[in-house]
Symmetry: C2
Subunit: 441 residues, 2 copies
């Protein structure tokens, strides 16, 4: 099939099948239909939309002709004769089966399916390589923001030291509301749901599952290794309190849900998703509302920042359509993009062995010797203190306590957790120790 494309001199038309026609899919279909000539000029060939698989063929879809609709995606893939399949259904199955079936039939694939690639990417990339077809997925991470190509190509001659991203717009919107309007988590979530920035069931976003999939994809690209979503440490934002936000403010920081992929000193990959304090001067701190941003630190390039709309129908459709044109160009020339080389095969470091700065905050008995005891306990665990602040109790608090907050130097997660467990057992620490990791400091 691929060879054929090189022989013909006639103006070529590539057949494109679309699986899924939600907000993104409908926008892709409309773009293909209304900008047919423009896309043909850019691709070097016509792009004919041959079918659109949907759940409900009776639902009206403005701008998408009813005769293209089918509720049988498997049949569309098997019998539609498509050169290119665009998968926008989401979730693991049926997309996994449909994509593998398309690849076996020699079709190239464009997808925005982060969950699938973060779990079964290895299988899908291998199938595409075996069959000599393309698999493109710029839209899977950070919507319209070009980050897959920059990591695969622009920065491929460099050594990536770290990738840190705000890759989930819903949680960034909520944290931004909590910061700028002093709402608590529940109120900010309700606002986000009312305005369409959060789903009725917000679990995938607020618990960090979505960000974890994207972290796995980014880590795989940056480190030429197979990193799966199950390798990613994941902590959502449901536990972030107004007190945490205020504490961050007092440190001239903001709280962001970060996806972090970093090479550690032992050559392992740290890959984690969690709320983190970010200094206001850091490029990631200025990312407001539902925007996404990715900060890449490379040995030669230095610090690069990519920012823009990370979700939504039109931005995601932009990325999908860019992939479609790229795949069409490749197909016309009878080639496919080489598989991303997974030659490093790096291990993922267990979370307990990752390193970061930590912010700790707790109530202590307001008596002499306590600060020395706390410092001693931390030192025993090789946790070194960068800065410390002790505030006398406020009137509404227990008068015999003081609020202690501190920022550590870079320390090992397991050591900090051990400190926290021990601190909570002492007589002079009252209640729980709140903590948050700090990045970009």
């Amino acid at each position: 099939m691929v060879e054929e494309t090189r022989d013909s001199d006639a103006p070529r038309v590539l057949r494109v099948a679309l699986l899924g026609c939600g907000t993104v899919g409908a926008q892709v279909a409309r773009t293909m239909l209304t900008q047919r000539e423009d896309l043909a000029a850019k691709s070097g060939c016509g792009l004919e939309l041959v079918g659109v698989a949907v759940h409900d063929v009776t639902k009206p879809r403005p701008g998408v002709p009813g005769e293209l609709l089918t509720d049988d995606p498997a049949a569309l893939v098997e019998n539609g004769g498509a050169d290119i399949i665009i998968e926008l259904i989401g979730g693991i199955d049926p997309p996994r089966r449909l994509i593998l079936s398309a690849i076996e039939r020699g079709a190239s694939v464009v997808t925005a399916n982060k969950a699938l690639l973060a779990k079964y990417g290895e299988e899908i990339y291998a199938a595409a390589e075996r069959e000599g077809v393309d698999i493109y997925y710029e839209a899977a991470v950070a919507g319209a923001i070009p980050i897959v190509r920059p990591l695969r190509e622009s920065l491929v001659g460099d050594q990536i030291l770290a990738v840190m991203g705000i890759v989930n717009g819903t949680t960034n919107y909520i944290l931004d509301k909590m910061t700028t309007e002093h709402q608590d988590f529940a109120a900010a979530l309700a606002t986000a749901q009312k305005l369409g920035f959060a789903e009725a069931d917000p679990t995938a976003d607020v618990e960090g599952f979505d960000a974890a999939s994207k972290a796995a994809i980014l880590a795989s690209l940056a480190y030429h290794s197979t990193v799966r979503v199950d390798d990613v440490y994941r902590e959502g934002i449901t536990g972030v309190t107004s007190g945490d936000i205020r504490a961050a403010e007092s440190m001239d920081c903001v709280v962001r849900l970060l996806a972090v992929a970093r090479l550690d000193a032992a050559g392992r990959i740290e890959v984690r998703v969690h709320p983190a304090m970010v200094p206001r001067g850091h490029p990631l701190a200025v990312v407001s509302g539902a925007n996404n941003a990715i900060f890449v630190e490379a040995a030669n390039a230095g610090g690069l920042m990519f920012m823009g709309p990370g979700a939504g129908g039109s931005p995601t459709a932009s990325a999908v359509t860019g992939d479609l044109v790229t795949v069409a160009r490749n197909r016309l020339r009878g080639v496919e993009n080489p598989a991303h080389p997974v030659y490093q095969g790096l291990e993922v470091a267990p979370m307990s062995e990752t390193r970061a700065r930590y912010y700790l905050r707790f109530q202590v008995a307001d008596q002499s010797g306590v600060l020395a005891a706390v410092a001693g306990l931390l030192a025993q665990h090789r946790v070194s203190i960068h800065s410390v602040r002790q505030l006398a109790a406020r009137a509404e608090d227990r008068p015999d306590t003081a609020a202690l907050s501190m920022v550590t130097h870079v320390a090992r997660e397991a050591d900090v957790m051990a400190c926290i467990a021990e601190l909570e057992k002492t007589g002079y620490v009252h209640g729980r120790v709140r903590f948050m990791r700090a990045e970009g400091v």
Copy 2:
């Protein structure tokens, strides 16, 4: 030559010749030599540095073996048998002759030469297409920041509405100093020269020539049209005064040297380089020091921002090495990247017909009726006023004058220039009318 690469099963080695070994070239050579295995794994083949053309072979170059050096770049291109030529000499000639000669010999080319591509890009791209070789130039615009691939591929399915960039680090450094440290232009330039951010002869930077070349390349990519450096309206920063910086501050704006490429209502390309006021809330306003940033507005993607080090040896070498790996991968598969389709052939709008908001500032006679006269004069020229501010004269100024500043709605350049000329001829305007375009408002 290209066909051969597909037949052999032996581990392949591609021969690479480097033309120019300044800060960037030396870093590329060191990366190629010290990260040989890593680059081979990423490319799928060995990359052998076969020669480095320099001006002075006797000058010691740490990390670059003397036996690779030659002072005859033409001979290296003609007789070196290189598969890939990296051109980092800069300037128009000899690079133009060397690159065309390399292409004729079937070599692929990586270059960072913005001046050459902005002037002779059409000729070079056509030669590469004719010979079936690659020409890659990610480093030509904004150093390490990936912007060429995002425009060529990631965003190719979208309609680019505008590209606005801070693409010259020297001028951004100077304007940043003038803003944050209240230095005047001469002092800020001297500081920049002392710290190595500006050359002894700063003309190419401060007069906007460098930015104009980059603007031409960005406009060509965004609009699939041939835009040459001579098509770019160019105004440097040598005329920016401390008064302009203070005036911008009073409007909650900063002054930046912007490269702007935009589609106008008549479907023509506006392409211009000039100082502009940018609101502090705009992503481009936060770009400090010698950094670069490019803001892209697209119909579907919305506003995307790319930020990072725009110059310097290591960042530029990062972009060059990324291109080298990409070109090597293509060569291994016996293909080249398709030429960027120049199918739109859009006209460039004359500067007099471009549209922007304008900030005007001048002294007027402090008497009744003057504001009405000014407003009437602007209205005659279809220039509508967005906001206006009149301040009584300061003690050190003429007591009978007032300072008038205003921001227009979007207006046509020719109309605004006509207003300014007429205002300066009236009896009630004292002295010159200062103006600056405003973007991102």
